[in-house]
Symmetry: C2
Subunit: 380 residues, 2 copies
């Protein structure tokens, strides 16, 4: 019995409805995964995230390594127990964060040396070290440490990053297998990341290299939604899709604005994550069935209606736009919490609706309608 089994229950075009079993629980796909950078989805309690329908959340290896440190989290029984989120978790590898520290890092074949943004200390993350940290966190899914290049990087640079990512995958997988061998029971699986920027041949080579390197319980697509035009992202997904193993879940990293979710699902993606839901929530921007809403706007001063009359979240069931606007005007943190909660629920519900339509064989028409209405509202 595979401890990380994925079952595709239904296909509708390239879209899939599935179930992913993990040591800490089950994830129904397609699914949006809220991001819990510091071991908390910003502004929300784990019970609220669960009530919003999340099956799985993300933790950030880079941030948790710096504070509180994986030693603390391991001593407290792992990230799930530490944070009170009693469900599946995925950790990123820290790669995206350390490569973003433009002036504070040095890249070599060994790994990335960098200076902590917190205390200025010098540290190194290697493919092996990333595995050790994620193992200590105790997440269900660990991501490989990859060499991240800027979005729309030219061919030579994108190739360098892609090829190094394959070499780092082999090193990470070896270390991960050694850690897993010492464990009583299967507790964490490792997923590779397809790189190659916007270059068709590099993406294909990356995928071939990954599939040659082993059997994987899931596979991620990295380096998208980093500044390239939307049609380019859609093209890359479409070119990859036929060659992706049908039995493994596909995770499109860092992607999830509402339309991106629908476009991704239509191209065979099963899992998404994005900080936009909570980041927008903190700034008072909400996605709604009527389009984007700026909660702070004066037009809501006397508006008794909920943020989104079609939404079933706690926020929309209990308070008015007038009250939400008031909370933002007076800088009360309940406001950002309520809008973050709504945005999370909005994406999770979108994925739930997609799943229902895939299972019913109506995804094609539904998603086209949804996208047409979405673009008519000029929303993104």
């Amino acid at each position: 019995m595979n401890a990380f089994a994925f079952t595709v229950e239904q296909r509708d075009g390239a879209a899939r409805a599935g179930t992913l079993r993990l040591p800490h629980g089950t994830v129904r796909t397609p699914a949006f995964m809220p991001v819990g950078t510091h071991g908390t989805v910003r502004g929300l309690h784990p019970d609220e995230v669960r009530a919003a329908g999340a099956d799985i959340i993300l933790g950030n290896t880079y941030h948790l390594h710096l504070r509180p440190g994986e030693d603390v989290i391991a001593a407290m029984g792992g990230l799930q127990r530490f944070s009170g989120w009693n469900g599946p978790m995925l950790s990123d590898s820290g790669g995206f964060q350390v490569f973003s520290l433009e002036t504070l890092r040095t890249i070599s074949e060994e790994g990335v040396a960098f200076q902590s943004h917190v205390d200025g200390s010098y540290r190194t993350i290697t493919p092996e070290r990333s595995m050790e940290i994620q193992w200590a966190l105790g997440t269900d899914i660990a991501m490989q440490f990859d060499h991240v290049v800027p979005g729309q990087a030219e061919h030579a640079l994108a190739r360098e990053g892609m090829e190094r990512s394959l070499r780092w995958l082999a090193r990470g997988a070896e270390r991960h297998a050694a850690l897993a061998r010492d464990s009583d029971q299967p507790r964490q699986t490792l997923w590779p990341i397809i790189q190659g920027g916007t270059h068709t041949d590099l993406r294909a080579a990356s995928l071939r290299g990954i599939l040659d390197a082993g059997d994987w319980t899931g596979i991620a697509i990295g380096g998208l939604s980093v500044g390239e035009p939307k049609p380019v992202m859609r093209r890359v997904l479409e070119e990859l899709e036929p060659s992706l193993p049908g039995a493994a879940p596909r995770y499109l990293m860092g992607v999830g604005f509402p339309a991106d979710l629908i476009e991704g699902i239509a191209r065979g993606v099963d899992l998404f994550d994005c900080v936009a839901a909570t980041r927008n929530g903190r700034h008072g921007t909400a996605w709604t069935s009527g389009g984007r809403v700026n909660v702070r706007a004066a037009v809501h001063r006397l508006e008794d209606a909920p943020l989104d009359a079609e939404c079933d979240c706690e926020t929309c069931r209990t308070v008015s736009r007038a009250y939400l606007r008031h909370l933002f005007v007076v800088s009360e943190i309940l406001g950002l919490r309520l809008v973050s909660l709504h945005n999370i629920r909005f994406l999770i519900r979108l994925a739930e609706q997609a799943r229902v339509h895939i299972l019913a064989g109506t995804f094609g028409g539904w998603s086209e309608d949804w996208l047409r209405r979405h673009h008519q509202r000029g929303a993104s």
Copy 2:
């Protein structure tokens, strides 16, 4: 049938256990009332405040008058409906806030002219205007607009404030009666405030003046816990207690550190409010059965224990001190929410425990034990 009926169920010494019926629900006393300055108990959702055991919360007339304005709140169906708190509420008069605006206000017999700290606009609150604002808020209990003098003011100044407060009570009561006459059903009651600083004769004169001015459904004691030594506060309460009407609830304004609650209850006080629970919570300071805890302290880094093993709040039931410390270290707002929630519950539970002991006739011994242990820990 009195819409604002108070029943004393049991006395134990001067301490009382009672029930206060209000248009929006019932309050069991003694009770701690969390403060919802801007129509939200800072950092908390109304459901959490209710789950923490609160029967009644406070709204601040000054802050709500400035933002969003009582016109908005009235249009949204009143403060309860606007804020999602479906229970009893008490509003202060705005007096304490406008008198605190040292350099931005002008006091006259008519009222207080002041400059808004929000937008610099010039406004005036009079005893009548305060009633109109509180009526628009729709709280169950309105407080009289009083002339607040500095704590430990000398006799002449304290007398001036006390006597003016009596004149303002008469004006406010007249306006409040006119507003209530136009209402279909009883929806708000007005409570007077005993002033007179630390001066025995002035406190007695204030109370006499109040009792001569009418029958009241409750009576407040203002101008305490504003810098005077604790024994002075206790003396004022002891001197007032025998003359206070037995049938009306007594509200000690702005008071509620843990020991103050016990000392006040022992001297016949039924209701308390204080921002310290949430303000301390925001700064990571918690009251616990083991004394005061600074959640940020490094000693908690690997501490798996809850904040307070004797507490039944959501925070203590679900997360460790190590996790709370981590949240404060990385500035995640979930931290201040969880500690605020604990502090609110700590005070509410203290009042609940006092009530149990009053009903059982064991309040005297229990409260003495509690205070002795409290002072042994050096806590305040």
